[in-house]
């Protein structure tokens, strides 16, 4: 036991000695041509396959995108879209045809995509009250919800700009006269539904003001079940974003034509935002995104090219490593 202690003490002393004398064991990587070429080669060998796999995954995703904001405005109103969208008396329904160009395997995800919509604007992001969403009217301090906090002296549940501007276009899908079943459940994050939105909190005094921002909520349904709201309130990172609308549980065959009946309620015209409808299958990697794959392939192949370039350099203009003639003082002594 004492021996062990002494041994431990000695080890510690040795370590301390090595520390103070600055001679701790270390590996000293020197970027020799061999290493440089090897590392580039290695990177190329890793990233090209990864990139190809990623690309393959991305390509396996079938995605149909349809921009409908302009098309769904009747010809007569195209000059002044804003008055069209703000006029409640004009019917907003609209039909779009989407052609499936490739077999799509269920589940098919329905997204709506908004462009040039700054959901990440500071004034917008902070205009909510998580406490109120969870506790409802029991929670009074909703000053963070400015400017949509109160209406007619009554608190608004859910308060804040985000909820107020809830997206309210709706879509129905028809294939060969039969309506496609769209599952609108479980589109919001489970953690949000369970922990952020109260089960006993019902919308109150919502969209009752003079200015209507967006969709209305059914006051009978508790917030935790208002999945559209929950999805909407998970604010996006960038001004162009997609949000999940629902899932189609049936496979779509190539050359199927889907008729989309939509209610074009939401106003993106005043600020020039685009509205798109996206049908997309999914791969293990997620949606259709060639960027990752391309990036990997580019990095991999440029690594390979660099490896080749360096190899050629090494063969042709061999730089003798540790060549003293590179040292300025030896150079001087050579010349002088």
């Amino acid at each position: 036991m004492a021996d062990m202690n002494r041994e431990r003490h000695r080890t510690r002393e040795t370590a301390f000695y090595l520390f103070t004398q600055q001679s701790l064991p270390a590996c000293k990587p020197v970027l020799t041509p061999g290493w440089v070429i090897t590392i580039f080669l290695f990177m190329g060998l890793i990233f090209i396959p990864v990139g190809l796999i990623t690309l393959r995954a991305s390509h396996s995703v079938v995605e149909i995108v349809d921009r409908y904001d302009t098309e769904c405005v009747p010809e007569a109103f195209r000059i002044d879209k804003i008055s069209y969208i703000q006029d409640d008396s004009i019917p907003k329904n609209c039909s779009r045809f989407m052609k499936v160009h490739k077999y799509m395997k269920a589940p098919i995800y329905i997204y709506y995509q908004l462009d040039n919509y700054y959901q990440n604007h500071r004034r917008y992001v902070k205009s909510r009250s998580d406490k109120q969403l969870l506790h409802g009217q029991k929670y009074h301090d909703t000053s963070s919800c400015q400017p949509v906090e109160l209406n007619n002296g009554q608190p608004i549940v859910p308060c804040g700009l985000i909820a107020w501007s809830l997206f309210n276009d709706s879509f129905t899908f028809i294939r060969e006269r039969a309506e496609l079943k769209v599952n609108r459940k479980n589109i919001a994050w489970k953690s949000d539904r369970d922990h952020k939105f109260g089960k006993n909190v019902h919308p109150f005094n919502f969209q009752n003001g003079t200015l209507i921002g967006g969709g209305k909520l059914n006051p009978k349904v508790p917030l935790s079940d208002q999945e559209d709201l929950i999805v909407w309130m998970r604010t996006s990172a960038l001004p162009s974003f997609r949000k999940l609308y629902g899932r189609i549980k049936e496979d779509l065959d190539a050359d199927d034509v889907i008729v989309v009946n939509l209610m074009n309620n939401y106003n993106t015209y005043s600020f020039g935002g685009k509205k798109k409808l996206v049908l997309s299958t999914s791969s293990w990697l997620g949606g259709k995104n060639d960027f990752l794959g391309h990036a990997c392939v580019i990095i991999g192949s440029s690594s390979l090219i660099l490896a080749i370039v360096f190899t050629l350099l090494h063969l042709k203009y061999r730089r003798p490593y540790g060549d003293t003639s590179y040292l300025p003082w030896s150079r001087k002594s050579l010349s002088g």
Binding site: Q22, K28, Y109, N120, F271, K288, Y321, G322
Partner: protein, 1234 residues
């Protein structure tokens, strides 16, 4: 003599000259006390009477803070840093609604940094407090109620009578009243004060000798009238009034308290140094207490120096601030343009606060500025200063102080970094200013040759002479010294004509006799130990003196005993060989040595009544005072002196004068009067001394060899290969200086040498005419001419690469004029282009002036190295001051930034520690710059995508912990362990050091490269993550929101930034891996926890469960692989290309020694385990060594007193070191006139 006077003259004549003012400012040491007009009156042994004066108590406190002032004062100190203040302001701003971030974002890093700094401060202060306490509670005997009572030091009051026993310390500055020794003498050791180990004598006034017992001491009712407390260690003016009799007091009666920092180490039983020696006990009266003691008044607040790197760092921070400002401005403009009512979902129609009000766009811009200022605050690296401090502290305390290569085993002295501010400055030194004596040479004096009556004795050959003859191509014949030659430390002389009594047969044996007697009598040496020639030890103020007395002993004039009034010499009989006779000489007066006088005289009375004045001193001084006649001898001796000088020997002239009794008596009266005067005592004494030190008769000259220190030439050669230029500043003669320079490889015959000397015939001619203004004018013109000529000649070599190296030699007198503002530029241009410069005959002030000339004029990093009090000024004037903790006193060390035991350790200090420290700190700074910029820029790019609203990208906690937790430790590890090449290699290739001198690693170009990579990487981070976010979804097709994307981005940032650190390492220890891996791991642990819990506090963001969702998607892993690689690929390519095509010098060396790295490296150590263990034990010993630096000391004979130097700077005259020889008490003269 003239050297010193003329040096000071022009300065006095132009007191307002700027150069002088700046110099005196930089070298001011401690507080110069204005002479209070009032005298202090102390009633001994009468507490009530003293009470009215409210003298301070004896307790001392060296702490910076107390319990109540700690927080306010400590915080104030912290907020004097711009970065901290900025973060405070930003934190306050964060509490306003304009802030996008929670106050926590900026508060947390700030408070962590403050906490760390405050804990450090508190710890240091606590240690000081403990030391103070230990000192204040030391016990001492105090006279109370007719008996000795043991009290704590802190309870001591002015006027108390105390008893100090043998080996005890003096608790305050006390007046010696009585001692158990005969004659009221006591012996003290002042090693803790000035580093001198020899015993010194203090002698009580005769009137007070009896007050030894408590009964008697109670009766003592004296009144001390003395100067106000001041910081002059070696002076004291005062009178003691007893029984209406006024007795003058001198430093002779004063016992000083020791330095508290020495004391604290004594208290903790580290140093076994004592104060009272060879005396049972003494009784004394307390005069100055506590903070008013001379030593405490002297405790100097050496102004802390900031390193150049840190000053450049300030510029970098400034650049960051301006970047920050422009980023904010850009973003704010954008927000002003962006904000529009058309974005209906932003609710901008009514009740809009000012910041988003589209109709108040200007206000929007202003307020968004504030918003962005808080958002981008991470661009300022708040933890940078703390990290750098920590790194430097460990570097100095663990690496420099414990380096075995800089440990001097013989004197048991490790290197010691007295400040940790300047480590990296050591890696950029371009000019070294070195003292000669004790720095380049050993200060180990050996009597080598002499000239008596116009004849040279001594057959040895100095190393310098050998070098000279070798350079001339003559083979040196090793002179066979006969085996029976007398060899002793301090005496390296052989000449059969003088030794063993043979001198009697010399034609000039009378001169020999005078010569030896002068050596035996004219000195202030104390004999110690047995009174036999073999066993006696001499305690001398300087090694020169000891060598001279030793020489006298070997010539048969053995000085063996000294009493206050007598010197006993055992002389070999004048006529009969082999017989000895003991002769006693009565010492009537001692005219002490000081730097202005440069001589020392003793008036003695032979047993037969003959009155003689013996004088020894510098040749110039003695020759001025020689009587007429004897020109042949004087000329011969002068030639010999030159010969000695060119051999590198230190010379002294000896002279004597027979005095007529009546002449002496009349002079002695004046002397006594001067001695008892209260004001300007020393000045008056000097004036009186002048009256008698004239018409001297020259006896001869001595030559003492001062050997070069070990390894000096090779060290200098190595350092000059490293591109460092040497300036030797010495008080020695030109010939000596040049020869030492030759011996040290500073000058050689291949060099083009320029010598600017005032020793020309023309100047001498003008000087003989004696008109001061004419002399000044003439010399100035001459110096201008010489400088111009040298410069013209030198300038043709400036550009030529292959031309010879240049060397400049200039003497002090010329330097005085060359430093004039009109000639300064010329001197600087010439001096900077010289590989080495030798300045001889320079005063301490000039040393400082030359140093600051190069420091300020050339903006180069300067280093001064010296060992003596006369080097203090230049040590403080240079960027880095290094003290040799060797043979002389502690003053140089006390003023220095680093202390090393040997000159040759400079090689390790600069080439290894300095170089590493510089490279490491550059890396640390650059890395901090890079990591903050890269991180903040991702925020910046995000701002463009949020309608310039200033929305934060990252969670508050991410941002606040980024600098202090997730990326803090690895960079410190790099700052400590990064090692490009091993120490033997950096000494083998000193040229590598030039990279530091050229500041290759901290240029704006380097900053630009790093900035480029920061920008590139931040773009990769942001846009890759944006691309990832556009379609990435979890398994059930749910899209990611803002906080999911930002978490993803932050993860990539943390991983990349940490990996980038590994890429910049030259060596990777396991600590690198642990810290880098640990940092990444800590981030993941943090986010697992953080997103796994919901707090009752409304965080107002949806971090909940984010990481789990993220990590359940494969795209997370693909991105995490892709982004760091994409970000670092370009960096890696840069590193490859840089090394391939534009390698740094060190990289070549790395490659050359890539394979043998393991032999020199630590892994090879395993094989020599035994060696390792032995080394370890040594290092352990070192780590347990006391922080006491010097063991031996003494002042070089010609080193001017340090006190007087500083006093003269402040325009006062303070006499130099009072060497305490027991002198005839002045009272006794009055009582017994004959």
């Amino acid at each position: 003599m003239s050297g010193w006077e003329t040096v000071n003259e022009p300065l006095k004549s132009q007191p307002g000259s700027s150069s002088r003012r700046t110099v005196s400012r930089t070298v001011t040491l401690g507080r110069v006390q204005p002479q209070a007009p009032a005298l202090r009156t102390i009633f001994c042994n009468d507490r009530e009477a003293n009470f009215a004066h409210r003298y301070k108590g004896n307790s001392i406190s060296t702490t910076k803070y107390n319990i109540f002032t700690f927080l306010p004062k400590g915080l104030y100190e912290q907020f004097r840093r711009v970065a901290n203040l900025y973060f405070l302001m930003v934190s306050i701003l964060s509490a306003t609604p304009y802030s996008p971030v929670h106050p926590v974002t900026n508060m947390v890093p700030l408070s962590l940094v403050l906490l760390f700094s405050l804990i450090k401060e508190a710890f240091e202060d606590w240690q000081r407090f403990q030391n103070d306490n230990a000192i204040n509670n030391t016990l001492v005997d105090v006279l109370q109620a007719q008996g000795w009572k043991t009290l704590q030091w802190r309870k001591l009051q002015v006027g108390d009578i105390i008893r100090v026993k043998q080996d005890g310390f003096f608790p305050a500055d006390i007046l010696l009243l009585a001692s158990t020794n005969a004659d009221g003498v006591c012996y003290i050791e002042t090693a803790n004060l000035d580093g001198e180990t020899n015993l010194k004598i203090r002698k009580a006034l005769e009137k007070t000798w009896d007050y030894l017992t408590p009964e008697k001491a109670c009766e003592f009712k004296g009144e001390v009238q003395c100067e106000q407390p001041n910081n002059s260690l070696y002076t004291f003016t005062g009178n003691l009034v007893i029984n209406n009799q006024t007795l003058p007091l001198s430093p002779n009666q004063i016992l000083l308290r020791v330095f508290s920092e020495c004391l604290s180490s004594i208290v903790s039983n580290v140093v076994k140094g004592c104060s009272l020696k060879n005396t049972d006990f003494i009784v004394g009266a307390v005069i100055f207490t506590g903070h008013e003691t001379k030593v405490m008044m002297n405790s100097m607040n050496v102004p802390s120096k900031r390193s150049t790197l840190e000053r450049r760092l300030d510029k970098l921070i400034l650049a960051l601030f301006s970047t920050l400002f422009s980023m904010c401005l850009l973003g704010a403009m954008g927000s002003g343009i962006f904000i529009d009512r058309k974005y209906f979902y932003l609710g901008l129609r009514q009740n809009v606060e000012d910041q988003f009000n589209p109709s108040k766009r200007f206000l929007v811009i202003i307020l968004t500025m504030l918003t962005l200022l808080t958002l981008y605050s991470t661009i300022i690296p708040i933890s940078l200063y703390v990290s750098i401090e920590t790194i430097k502290f460990i570097q100095s305390s663990q690496f420099i102080n414990k380096d075995l290569n800089m440990y001097h085993a013989e004197t048991n002295t490790p290197a010691s970094a007295r400040t940790s501010n300047l480590n990296e400055e050591l890696g950029q030194v371009e000019y070294i200013f070195s003292d000669k004596t004790g720095t380049l040479t050993r200060n180990l004096m050996e009597f080598f040759k002499c000239s008596i009556g116009g004849e040279i004795y001594g057959t040895g050959m100095t190393e310098i002479e050998k070098g000279v003859t070798e350079r001339k191509g003559i083979k040196v014949q090793e002179v066979q010294t006969s085996n029976d030659s007398v060899r002793e430390k301090g005496f390296n002389f052989y000449d059969g004509r003088l030794l063993r009594g043979a001198w009697r047969n010399e034609p000039n044996h009378d001169a020999c006799k005078e010569f030896f007697r002068c050596l035996a009598i004219c000195h202030t040496v104390l004999p110690e130990g047995d009174e036999s020639p073999a066993k006696i030890k001499y305690q001398a103020a300087s090694p020169d003196e000891a060598a001279l007395v030793l020489a006298a002993k070997n010539f048969g004039f053995f000085f063996y005993r000294r009493t206050p009034s007598m010197i006993y010499v055992r002389e070999s009989h004048v006529e009969r060989m082999g017989k000895t006779q003991d002769t006693s000489y009565e010492i009537l007066n001692v005219l002490e040595f000081n730097s202005t006088r440069k001589r020392q005289s003793v008036v003695c009375r032979y047993p037969d009544g003959r009155l003689v004045l013996y004088c020894k001193g510098a040749d110039t001084v003695i020759y001025e005072r020689l009587g007429s006649g004897n020109d042949a001898l004087n000329k011969a001796t002068r030639d010999h002196l030159e010969q000695f000088g060119s051999a590198g020997l230190r010379t002294l002239c000896l002279a004597y004068r027979d005095l007529a009794p009546d002449l002496y008596e009349s002079w002695n009266e004046k002397f006594i009067k001067a001695k008892s005067s209260l004001r300007d005592r020393e000045k008056k004494l000097d004036e009186v001394a002048e009256l008698i030190e004239k018409e001297l008769i020259l006896i001869g000259a001595t030559a003492i060899e001062d050997k070069l220190q070990e390894g000096v030439p090779s060290c200098i050669q190595t350092l000059s290969r490293a591109g460092i230029k040497f300036w030797v500043l010495t008080g020695d003669k030109m010939e000596t200086a040049i020869n030492i320079a030759y011996a040290c490889n500073l000058l050689n015959n291949e060099m083009k040498q320029f010598i600017i000397s005032s020793e020309t015939d023309a100047i001498r001619e003008v000087e003989e005419r004696g008109d001061q203004t004419e002399i000044a004018h003439f010399i100035k013109e001459d110096v201008r001419k010489q400088l111009k000529q040298s410069l013209d000649e030198a300038s043709q070599y400036f550009c030529a690469r292959s031309g010879p190296k240049l060397g400049l030699v200039i003497d002090g007198k010329c330097l005085t004029y060359a430093l004039d503002s009109s000639l300064r530029i010329m001197l600087l241009t010439l001096g900077l282009n010289c590989a080495s410069v030798v300045c001889c005959r320079v005063s301490p002030l000039q040393k400082a002036q030359v140093t600051s000339l190069v420091k300020k004029g050339a903006h180069k990093i300067t280093l001064s190295i010296g060992d003596g009090a006369n080097d203090v000024s230049m040590i403080q004037a240079a960027h880095i001051g290094i003290g040799i903790s060797g043979l002389e006193g502690m003053q140089a060390v006390m003023a220095s930034d680093f202390a090393i035991a040997q000159f040759r350790f400079l090689e390790d200090l600069l080439l290894v520690h300095g170089r590493w420290s510089y490279i490491r700190l550059c890396k640390v700074v650059m890395y901090f710059f890079y990591k903050n910029l890269a991180f903040t820029l991702t925020q910046f790019w995000f701002t463009f995508n949020t309608g310039f609203s200033g929305q934060r990208f990252y969670d508050d906690w991410f941002q606040s912990l980024y600098n202090v937790i997730f990326t803090a430790l690895p960079v410190i590890i790099v700052g400590l362990f990064d090692k490009d090449i091993s120490p033997p290699l950096s000494k083998k290739y000193p040229e590598l050091y030039k990279e530091g001198i050229r500041n290759k690693f901290f240029k704006w170009r380097v900053v630009a490269v790093w900035a480029f990579f920061s920008i590139y990487q931040s773009l990769v981070f942001f846009y890759f993550i944006s691309a990832f976010s556009s379609t990435s979804r979890d398994r059930s097709g749910k899209m990611f929101g803002l906080w999911d994307v930002s978490t993803m981005a932050f993860t990539c940032v943390v991983v990349t930034i940490n990996l980038r650190l590994l890429m910049m390492c030259n060596s990777i220890t396991r600590w690198h891996c642990i810290s880098v891996g640990g940092s990444i791991l800590v981030w993941f642990m943090f986010i697992f926890l953080y997103s796994g819990i919901t707090t009752p506090l409304d965080r107002n963001e949806n971090m909940y469960w984010v990481i789990y969702i993220l990590m359940s998607t494969p795209s997370f892993y693909v991105t995490l692989l892709l982004v760091p690689v994409a970000a670092l690929l370009v960096d890696f390519l840069y590193l490859c290309v840089q090394r391939w095509f534009f390698p740094y010098d060190y990289q070549i060396i790395q490659e050359m020694h890539k394979d043998d790295i393991h032999c020199t490296g630590p892994s090879g150590v395993v094989g020599s385990k035994q060696q390792l263990i032995a080394d370890e034990e040594r290092s352990n010993e070192i780590s347990q060594l006391p922080r006491e630096v010097s063991k031996h000391s003494g002042f070089a004979f010609d080193s001017p007193g340090y006190e007087s130097f500083f006093a003269s700077q402040s325009g006062k005259y303070v006499p130099p070191n009072a060497w305490d020889v027991a002198r005839r008490a002045s009272m006794r003269h009055k009582a017994t006139p004959k």
